[in-house]
């Protein structure tokens, strides 16, 4: 078969190239540019090599922020994934209840991030907020603006409220796609409820759960708006997660070089974790 050579076809690629250039390549390259140089404004740049990278990687501040970030992500994953699966399992399978549950579940997902932050800020205020006031009335010494433990508790609770639904919806979709014959066969085989979950439901949900964990990992690892509005990273630096710390560095202190280097390291971590996780989960998929 002869293929016609027509170089004009490249013209069709231009729109997408321009689009990608403006929304990804150019911004990213700007960051790369900053990461290797020093500037004092006026568009004057000095070459710094890998200095900013070394500085960030060795800084206690970055280590602390990264530590907080990892802890936060692990906590919310360990709460949201099991809780999401559990809720999905208890949701009705037919009738009007399905729609009601789905709508209720989607609600938190539809609220803009900063509104979630603002809602929870007011909700948790120790003097007038429903949550804060109630906790204090019950005898707990709760003040998320001053005690770091309370700030963490509130941030985690807010994220669980905001995002567990996503895990629920994905798990529910996974569960609904299981053929009734699997349950019938298990019933005939005399399987216990736990066996049904362990050997039918969980394996069949594997793909959607992989997606759910990936999405929740990425979103929580890059979380910014909600804790920014809720706690502003405080008290002190208690809830200053990576992106909050990054913005402080870039816009608060105007340390563009170190901030750019930090962005790239941050980006690299997210990319690596996702890649490794996805490959591990999908390792055996090729056979089936």
């Amino acid at each position: 078969m002869n293929k016609t050579v027509n170089q004009k076809a490249w013209l069709f690629v231009i729109p997408v190239f321009v689009l990608v250039a403006f929304n990804a390549i150019i911004p990213l390259m700007t960051v790369v540019n900053y990461a290797f140089q020093e500037t004092f404004g006026n568009n004057v740049f000095m070459w710094e090599g890998t200095r900013w990278f070394k500085q960030i990687l060795l800084s206690d501040r970055f280590h602390a922020a990264l530590g907080r970030q990892i802890l936060f992500t692990l906590i919310i994953l360990f709460i949201q994934i099991p809780l999401g699966i559990f809720i999905a399992l208890t949701m009705p399978k037919e009738g009007i209840g399905v729609s009601v549950c789905l709508v209720l579940m989607s609600m938190p997902l539809l609220i803009p991030w900063n509104v979630v932050g603002a809602m929870w800020n007011i909700f948790a205020l120790p003097d007038i907020g429903f949550l804060g006031h109630s906790l204090n009335a019950l005898g707990f010494d709760y003040n998320f603006t001053q005690q770091s433990g309370d700030a963490w508790f509130t941030t985690v609770l807010m994220d669980v409220w905001h995002w567990t639904s996503l895990v629920v919806l994905l798990s529910y979709a996974g569960l609904r796609s299981i053929q009734p014959a699997y349950y019938q066969a298990a019933e005939i085989d005399g399987a216990s409820r736990w066996s049904v979950f362990r050997h039918i439901e969980l394996p069949k949900m594997k793909k959607v759960l992989t997606i759910a964990i990936l999405l929740r990992f990425m979103d929580s690892f890059m979380i910014y708006t909600e804790p920014f509005v809720l706690t502003g990273g405080g008290p002190g630096n208690a809830t200053a997660f990576l992106s909050i710390d990054l913005v402080k560095m870039a816009l608060g202190q105007f340390d563009l070089g170190p901030a750019a280097a930090m962005s790239l390291i941050y980006f690299f971590i997210v990319l690596t974790v996702c890649w490794v996780f996805y490959n591990l989960m999908m390792k055996n998929e090729g056979q089936s």
Binding site: A181, A185, E187, I188, D189, A191, R198, N284
Partner: protein, 354 residues
């Protein structure tokens, strides 16, 4: 092992039943004898799977009783009934090996390791799964997976009945044949009651000693393949079994004399004093001959299949198909048909008149 009886069984998936159509199963009475090989035959949507799920206990019937050895088990679950069921699509536990899949029903019943090992190896041998016994089940082909499903059904030696719900649907045609012979062989070996659901008459007729034909939520006939062929008790059985199916022609009954469009038809049946809203004559194409006189028809088409000829004819009461030996000389244009008296039946409102 036991005899299974269904008494006045009816089932509906709706909450209230007004019309006949609201029932998925209507007044089913049947005894399945211990050790029999049964086929449940009927078109899609006639209630076969519903009946099967009621026997296995996956479904509770709206009305009626299920007895195992005269013990009422209507409200018992599948585990208590101790039955095995194999589904249309292979059901395997992806995360387990083939061995663990086969052992699963035994493990759940607390059987000892050694006994499980022996039993599983025996079944694997029978189904030719020994070489893949320690592979992950999810890596197998569709027929390999279905063999596992079959194996899980066969691994318990004390089940009351093994039920197959169109188990060969997803299998390649040439493997179908092999697996089907395997099932037949297994039945002879383990001598357990088997019920095989299918909409394929060849499958049903080759597997079963007794075929149960279902049509629109009812059992229309139970019999050996020969009985179904030679004496269909319902026009549906006549249509459904045989290729081509039975010719069904409207007829008139006048004082016991049967006629199609004024031509007298001889039968062995005495039908005086009976009245129906619809009467028909049924005759299989195999039992029609050409003759000098008889029912006048026009020959429309002759097709030679090699073994025999199938002749499409047209009478004034409708189309009639005739099967004749390949060597037969077929008249052209118009001809006369004779029906063999012993195989000519009369149906009143679709049911045979005797």
């Amino acid at each position: 092992m036991s005899k299974i009886s269904l008494k006045n069984l009816s089932h509906s998936y709706l909450n209230s039943q007004v019309n006949k159509e609201d029932w998925a199963l209507r007044n089913v009475n049947i005894d399945w004898n211990d050790g029999g090989a049964y086929a449940l035959l009927g078109p899609s949507g006639c209630g076969k799977t519903t009946l099967l799920n009621i026997i296995s206990g996956l479904l509770n019937p709206t009305e009626g009783q299920i007895l195992f050895n005269d013990q009422d088990v209507t409200n018992k679950n599948p585990v208590e009934r101790n039955i095995a069921q194999i589904f249309q699509f292979p059901v395997i536990y992806d995360t387990m090996t083939v061995f663990d899949n086969l052992a699963f029903p035994l493990k759940n019943r607390g059987i000892s390791e050694q006994e499980i090992k022996n039993k599983v190896e025996e079944i694997a041998e029978m189904l030719e799964l020994t070489s893949t016994l320690h592979n992950r089940a999810s890596g197998l082909t569709a027929d390999g997976k279905q063999k596992i499903s079959l194996g899980r059904g066969l691994v318990r030696s004390d089940v009351n009945v093994i039920m197959f719900d169109e188990p060969l649907t997803v299998i390649d045609p040439h493997l179908k044949w092999i697996l089907r012979s395997k099932l037949k062989e297994l039945h002879q070996k383990i001598n357990r009651t088997m019920i095989y659901v299918t909409h394929d008459q060849t499958e049903a007729l080759t597997f079963a000693d007794q075929v149960v034909v279902m049509h629109e939520a009812e059992i229309v006939q139970i019999g050996t393949p020969v009985e179904l062929f030679e004496k269909p008790r319902h026009t549906f059985v006549g249509h459904f079994i045989g290729s081509p199916g039975m010719n069904i022609l409207p007829c008139k009954i006048d004082n016991g004399a049967i006629s199609i469009n004024g031509n007298k038809i001889e039968t062995k049946i005495d039908i005086k004093d009976k009245s129906f809203s619809k009467t028909e004559v049924g005759i299989r194409p195999e039992f029609i001959e050409f003759n000098e006189s008889g029912l006048p028809v026009k020959i429309i088409k002759v097709s030679n299949t090699g073994r025999h000829k199938i002749i499409d004819t047209e009478s004034e009461s409708g189309k009639i198909k005739v099967i004749a030996k390949s060597s037969t000389n077929i008249p052209t244009g118009s001809a006369f048909l004779n029906f063999k008296k012993d195989y000519t039946y009369v149906y009143g409102d679709n049911w045979i008149i005797e």
